[in-house]
Amino acid sequence: MGDPVLSLAGRYATLEEREAVRKSFGLDKPMYLQYAKFLSNAVRGNFGKSYVSRTDALQLILERFPATFEMALCAIITAVFLGIGLGILVSIKPDTLKSRFIMASSLINISLPTFLTGIIFIMVFAVWTNILPPYGRGDTVLIGSWRTGFLTLSGLKHLILPVLTLAMYQLAVLLRLTRAGMREVMGEEFIKTAWSKGLSPSRVIYKHALRNVLIPVVTIAGLQFGELIAFSIVTETIFQWPGMGNLLLISIYESDQPVIVTYIMLAATIIIMINILVDIMYAFLNPKIRYE
């Protein structure tokens, strides 16, 4: 277990200096006392101060939240629309050259770790062709306490590569799920009925078939949210994106435990909220589901 005192007091501190630091942060008390103090502070929303920057850990993370949120939101939207869209395309016309190409690239996609996708994007779009910026957030605009990159051209350009990188992994999974679901549903009796009623293809596909496919797709997308958070750490590191994930990694290097613990709590909160959201979405997608 890394001793935070070592990084706090510096490598060249004397034993006495180390002890002084240990005392001033309350790290000399027994484990159960430290834990009790942490708990009683945490329930009041106080997660302690960062060992490194000496500022409120929660504040430090929340400052970085907009950057991560904007990137993750764009990535989810890209992955869901492209994943479901391509999944439908592939399942309706499975034997065309286009579909085969899409399926083959999805296998390569699944076998490609996120960090490698990011580096390949940087090599192709930033180093060799120089069309897109390789790192950072570009120019941002501050609205209240929310720093957004959506409002400037440079901010939007900087978003493209990180968003594509983060979307790539989910995209392949969603595509494969949609394809498998569509193939199963298109053979069902109620789809045959819909066709024989003379409904238009788009109505049969989107209104009758897709709606039944979406439930497992939404479940997996919700379950994978933890993966999304993890891969946002990777993506932010590659593109030097000033978000929460980047902060977490730096805190791991520096043994800044209050920040790590606060990040864990925040990630847990976000995951629970997403799970509740997924449960609510079930009811919209399938009116047969009723919560007592």
């Binding site: 490609l112 770790p113 940087i122 180093v127 379950l223 891969f231 590191t237």
Partner: protein, 292 residues
């Protein structure tokens, strides 16, 4: 169903599936390359005596400035890329196989207990599984390493195991629940066989098949995860060879046009994962009829 029958069916299946043959041929090739790395590699990249500053940042041998034993060029410390890849594959496979063995046997054991006894053991284990599952393997491994702080081979293997055993436990539990109702299990009960005997002699061998599919899929996931962790600098220690770390060193040089430090280790990693995924796809198709 007797052993010989499964074997012949599996074999027959295998011989009619070109992608399975390509996948496993590739896998055997990479496995033996990793196993015999000290014999094949033209240089031992982790023996300081063979490193020389004359040799750093050399391009591959077919380019201007390439030098004799360094087929794929060298990195910033004069380590041959080809040799380092061989040793790096060793680490990847070592971590991969250790995790699937350790997490696999623990998970299978827990799954057997939960499935067989049900009740409180089952309830506690499945809630624990839900928690671990919604955090996702990658995020959990990150956070555990953040808490342990120290990297290194053993820490990574354990962190991934803790994050990972749930997959096996869930699969095994599901499989046991199905088989528990079979008449031969009831017959074993009636004949007065002990719990121990029923679990290990009757349940384990009959319920284990789906685990092999999980192992195959998981192996690829774990190898990608180790590469990701090492890439981010929270994985294996600096003195241990790793594909992820090679790519992270190479990333600093892509702007200078030295692509070989990223492209070759990246290609090795992708090949390794694709080979395992092709094999896993075949195994899933081949074993599935027996599962359902």
């Amino acid at each position: 169903m007797n052993n010989r029958f499964i074997k012949s069916k599996l074999l027959n299946n295998f011989l009619h599936d070109p992608s399975a043959i390509i996948g496993s041929a590739l896998l055997v090739l990479l496995l033996s390359a990793a196993l015999f790395a000290p014999l094949i590699a033209p240089q031992d990249p982790y023996d300081l005596e063979t490193l020389s500053f004359d040799n750093f940042l050399l391009p591959p041998i077919w380019m201007d400035g390439g030098k004799a034993p360094f087929i794929l060029g060298t990195d910033d410390q004069g380590r041959g890329i080809f040799s380092t890849i061989l040793f790096g594959c060793r680490t990847s496979l070592l971590v991969g196989f250790s995790v699937v063995t350790l997490a696999g046997s623990f998970g299978v054991f827990m799954g057997l207990l939960a499935g067989y006894y049900g009740g409180k053991i089952d309830a506690v284990m499945m809630r624990l599984a839900d928690i671990l599952f919604s955090f996702s393997t990658t995020l959990l491994a990150f956070l555990l390493i953040g808490i342990f702080r120290e990297g290194g081979l053993v820490v990574i293997i354990f962190a991934i195991c803790i994050a990972n055993w749930v997959k096996y436990a869930r699969t095994m539990r599901g499989s046991v629940l199905e088989i528990k109702e079979e008449s031969y299990i009831m017959a074993a009960h009636a004949s007065g066989a002990s719990d121990f005997r029923i679990i290990f002699k009757y349940l384990l061998p009959n319920a284990i098949a789906p685990i092999f599919v999980v192992i195959a899929v998981d192996l690829a996931v774990v190898i990608m995860l180790e590469a990701t962790l090492s890439f981010l600098g929270v994985g294996v220690s600096l003195t241990e060879p790793s594909l992820g770390m090679m790519i992270s060193i190479g990333k600093n040089y892509i702007y200078a046009g030295m692509w070989w430090m990223v492209v070759f280790p990246g290609a090795a990693l992708i090949l390794l994962v694709i080979a395992i995924n092709l094999f896993a796809d075949w195994l899933r198709d081949a074993l599935n009829p027996k599962i359902t």
